[in-house]
Subunit: 69 residues, 12 copies
């Protein structure tokens, strides 16, 4: 079996609805330009507040994908 | 443009329903006494367990708001 | 009041649906063999990706329970 | 059961006698102005030295208490 | 010598000019409402960018001061 | 000399008297079921508060012991 | 309001003059090839020394910018 | 596809020869009593020294395996 | 002397043979598309296990290289 | 007022009696060869175990002292 | 090319003027007794406050230099 | 049994061949001037790259040894 090499990039997804959806939005955007996304790791969860309630969840993840030679 | 100063406080919200709701409850409580809440950062996620299932989500956040001179 | 001693174990729950459900699945599995689960702490949130969307949430928690003498 | 919200503050107690007493002094002082202190977490232990022996233990803790609505 | 107790608060100063000035602005603001500020610790340095150059330095510090009984 | 393998478990001892005694209680309990305890590392020190003074010290340690083949 | 996605890259700026200028140099270089830089976070500050004085400040930052779909 | 749950244990392998072999020794020992080992993560690398050269590499890893219901 | 700017990317190399070779494989792959690689920093060492022995070492590194204007 | 420079060294004190005494022993030893010790910071607390109880507390501290020109 | 060995020491420089100057002061002092200083890494930035403004910047760095055999 | 005190110093070994040899080189150099080296802890692993392959492994360790009174 071959020795693969993976690259990780760091992206921040946002969502008005939930922290999980912020992750999904980040992955959906990354998958438009990168194929072979393999895994993600949550790095930071934060958000903006407007008038005493959450405006946007902002979740930063690292996404790993197979590097092509 | 003016140089604002912000203060951050650390609060722990709880919820029987979800980790996201624990954050919302923390922010809702803080907004009763503090105006101009601007952002939050999740610091720790934990919870209590009763009879083998989650009793309360306990999510600690830092909340930032504009300091008045 | 007695001086209790607690043990913590580290487990990773998975779920196709949500990060919260991954925690619940981990606790449900642990409670099959361990009684007196008392609390959990989220240690790491990651997941696998298939065709540009989340395949499995993988959430690692520490679970604490009362040790018997 | 209600969803409580807790606030944490960070204080540094000092003592000429022991690290444990520095924690106790910090909690005793905090309890003068805050009711319903619930738990503490040790954040940092340091101290000053005079003529080759410990002058003051300085222990920083976070103290959690119930927020009132 | 008395066993003092200190409180630390976390504030974020901003400045268009320099990271050091952001710290000074934070301390100047805190000293308007708190006496006996004793020391600070830099926690995080970040900033906003406009048109390819730094708009505002945002430096978060903890500030310690003597608690009164 | 043989290449030993060690296992570490994470346990939380409690004590009404001191942080050191909380560690001793944790080790005493662990030694009831595990032989060959070799070393410990303090991971976290916290505690509960009742009426403005420490109710229980809660100290989490990792304890290492020799694994048998 | 739309759910934006941001990407962060990690770059190290250098300067013979000051730590702040090392950050500015890093941002200036990044802005040549990337539009819509939004914020930065300082990750590490180090430097080289020649003949007992600072030769180059080397400041590593993460820079965030809006990802295009 | 089923939602698996994994458990992680922390073990320290030792070797007179190399850091990699210390990891292999730890895994070999763990596999005597645990089936379905799936992955490991290096947590800490240290060692003992005798007469100015390395006596034993001591590498602590976490090992993950599938929990059975 | 000019003020260079460096970029760091995060990649994971794998190897069936050793942790060092996993690093070398990561660098070899990165050097196919990036010139002027200058240094690396090991971020995480993990691996997969098959039938009680190491299947693949997976070592994540950051690699720094000179950015061109 | 002059701009002092301080040096910190890292030492590990041991004690059969208590964690605090391990710190005191470390400082006492350091003060034999270094004058002007000013402060200490606890870095790590661990210990050895013999027959199910603590043999030696091992507390690592950093000690700061004034550097002479 | 020879395999050099470097030593790092930890020192805290102070300055009434700026955080950068505190670093420079630390390096200048270290270079009085140590030759071949090669690089530094900023570890911590703090300071003392007098009457609501910064009295001394206190910046702790590690300084690396070539060890002689 | 006596209460020993240990000192730790931080050194960086380099090697063209392997990460393990970089550690060995660091220890060999330290043992030229310090007797009674007892243990080491790996703090950081990095290296320089030349023409797409590793030039030097640079491994930073802390080395502990018995302090003499």
């Amino acid at each position: 079996m071959e020795d693969h090499v993976y690259k990780k990039i760091e992206i921040t997804g946002t969502s008005s609805n939930s922290s999980d959806e912020a992750v999904q939005n980040a992955i959906a955007m990354a998958s438009k330009s990168i194929q072979n996304l393999r895994w993600f790791e949550v790095v930071e969860t934060r958000g903006s507040i407007t008038e005493g309630s959450i405006d946007k969840w902002q979740v930063t993840i690292k996404v790993g994908f197979t590097m092509k030679g």
